[in-house]
Symmetry: C2
Subunit: 423 residues, 2 copies
């Protein structure tokens, strides 16, 4: 008997028929002897619908008072979901009870629309589980110290599920979603991409932050911090699939590097074309110049990703960084009309037609020559590298965007990811 947390997304909760299927699946797990906590999202489309009404009344709800009301409104979607799922479980013959965030309670700070969980009191939930009940808890929301309802931001139900699992020291947290796990790369780009049966949370964090949309990044951070075994698996399997088969499906996000296992050096290839590059050429190289440039960019509320400063020659240096494409024209304008003149840069350049491709793998820590193998594979395809950025378990390159698919396929093959899954 284990304590298991299930999380279901809005699509899985999208109709009473689907809610009934979720209930049957959860009942199957409970009947197999597990203590079950379920965290469902709002029915798909519901949160958008009610926040749309709010937007009609106040197009820019950006004061704390207004955002408090948005949370009051948005949190109801999940409250309806938990009530409906508890009813569906009761109709299946299970004892079931639902709780809102404030009823558990899930305590958060007061940052409306993007609150952070501070603590979870699991006393009430634990008593229900001991009494044989399935407990259904609202995702996405909590309550602050002054009894105001808060929400965790979009996708926050993943984080809620992981946080509940952490607080209750659950044996596993299963995130049911519309993909059947984490892949070596996007199968739409590389048909040979394969599902990983396990991935370490650090790799998952890099994959998630690099644009792999399977899990909300905060939920992965939470899982890492509290060492919650997290499994991403498909909600599209029939509810009556064999439970042992289901329990092994998807991708398990682990915390131990299993040294007994033949660990691949690179676990996956992440990529995106959301970024643009700006460059200051011939900047006088003096102490504080990086701060002078990036401080001005930060003041303009523009987030910077990859930063490259070349070694200087003749007292001048070149300085490049990438920003989100949505910020590209603002960033270019800022450099051309303010930062460039202020720093005495010789020239300002910009390029929105770039992409970023990254190899991610915990094995990179202990293996040398991984980056050079990457560069060779790209070179063999005649792909020019514009920028390089490395971290302990990741190497990213910035390329002309027209090479993106080619680069991803070449790297997927070079690091033996095309091979059939071992387990």
């Amino acid at each position: 008997m284990a304590l298991i947390v299930h999380k279901y997304g809005g699509t899985s909760m999208g109709s009473t028929e689907r809610i009934r299927n979720v209930a049957k699946r959860v009942a199957k797990w409970a009947r197999a002897g597990h203590q079950m906590v379920v965290v469902p999202s709002a029915m798909s489309g519901e949160t958008n619908r009610i926040l749309g009404l709010a937007k009609e009344l106040m197009p820019n709800a950006n004061t704390a008072a207004a955002m408090r009301e948005l949370d009051m409104i948005a949190s109801t979607g999940e409250q309806v979901s938990v009530g409906l799922l508890a009813l569906a479980l009761q109709a299946e013959g299970m004892e079931a009870v639902s709780y809102s965030g404030w009823q558990v309670p899930i305590a958060t700070d007061s940052s409306y629309t993007k609150a952070r969980i501070e603590s979870i009191d699991d006393q009430r939930v634990r008593a229900d589980l001991a009494a044989g009940k399935v407990v259904v808890i609202t995702g996405f929301q909590g309550v602050d110290a002054n009894k105001n309802i808060t929400t965790l931001g979009r996708g926050g139900s993943d984080t809620s599920a992981v946080a509940v699992a952490a607080a209750m020291k659950a044996d596993e947290c299963l995130i049911y979603t519309d993909v059947d796990g984490v892949y070596t790369t996007d199968p739409r780009v590389v048909p040979e991409a394969r599902r990983l049966s396990t991935i370490t949370f650090e790799e998952m964090l890099e994959m998630a932050s690099l644009g792999s949309k399977v899990l909300q990044i905060r939920s992965v951070e939470f899982a890492g911090k509290y060492r919650v075994p997290l499994r991403v698996l498909s909600s599209f399997t029939p509810w009556d699939i064999d439970i042992n088969e289901e329990a092994k499906s998807g991708t398990l996000i682990t915390f131990e590097e299993d040294t007994n296992m033949e660990q691949a050096v690179v676990s996956g290839i992440a990529f995106n074309r959301d970024e643009a590059k700006v460059t200051l050429l011939g900047v006088p190289d003096k102490p504080g110049i990086a701060y002078q440039i990036l401080g001005a960019v930060a003041d303009a509320n523009i987030e910077v990703d990859v930063i490259i400063q070349n070694v200087s020659h003749d007292g001048k240096t070149d300085f490049s960084f990438t920003v989100h494409r949505n910020d590209y024209s603002r960033a270019l304008d800022l450099l051309q009309n303010k930062v460039g003149p202020d720093t005495g840069a010789a020239q300002v350049l910009g390029d929105a037609k770039i992409c970023k491709v990254s190899i991610v793998g915990i094995g990179m820590r202990s293996h040398v020559g991984v980056a050079s193998k990457m560069f060779r594979a790209l070179s063999e395809e005649g792909i020019n590298i514009q920028m390089i950025s490395t971290s302990e378990i990741k190497t990213s390159v910035v390329l002309d965007e027209k090479y993106m698919e080619l680069a991803v396929r070449a790297l997927h093959k070079a690091f033996d990811l095309d091979a059939p899954a071992a387990a």
Copy 2:
């Protein structure tokens, strides 16, 4: 400066455009210097929609556990409403904050779907009012001692508004609704019916319990118990109507019999055709016979309204009572097959084609001859009276239903209610 509670129904909250109008009206009152608390219902249709989903999952949700979930679900309609109205008020330039029942808190018992309010802690609301905020509170719901959400039953928002007004000792509670006040009788039956500018709460209670649907009866009871000045007025007037005119409009439900005023003996004529009559003829008259009959009816969960027992002759008596038409066939079956044989009644009769017409007036306490004036008026129209029931401020008669409109019109005229309003 006064403390005023406004209550708006689902129709008034039916769209963002209408919510904006409610906000403008409330803002007008606040800008006139009043401290404002607003209790809006759910947007019209919303509670039915979500409870419809619940019904799909569990057609007969009659256990406590299931009804708890119904309340969890149903309470969200009002939570969305208060958030939207608070936003609309903020968009109007007012400071505004919304609260759910549990946030105030409004403490209730644990009778899910029909909870009763036990107490209201007004500390938080009072602090907001003192800080110049408009406070928007969910109607229809509260929280029990174990932090479970409860609802008060359909129409419960009227009760919430009155309860909040009572707890805060508000100067007046204004119920905005789709009629412009309480009438001497239904204007669809008597075109000469006129709006009452005042009515005592006891009269209102009789009118409400006799089928006048303006206010939920529990809210009137609450207003009576805590002496809350209650005004029923139209939500269809333009929001920018002169506030002094608006403050005097509708019908005020009062607690003082104003002896200086020319008080009408009869304030209104109530009627319904929801009932049916059953009769036991020739019942042996012995002690306990009424209990024997009505106990069996109560055990079958059938509610009884008018009860008549004639004086006995030859040791036999006739016993009649009315029940709701929905219970008629069950009641008749019970009498014919069980109660009749058990009591040794000679015959069982039934008639579903009846109506009940009542005159209501606080003046009946101090005036003699009111009932006989009623009987004469009916007699002059050739209407036969089947049953008579009286209370301190009400006289009801049961008639053949075909005479209902005729009887109402005759009584309306006989008691001078056709005359134009004095004020």
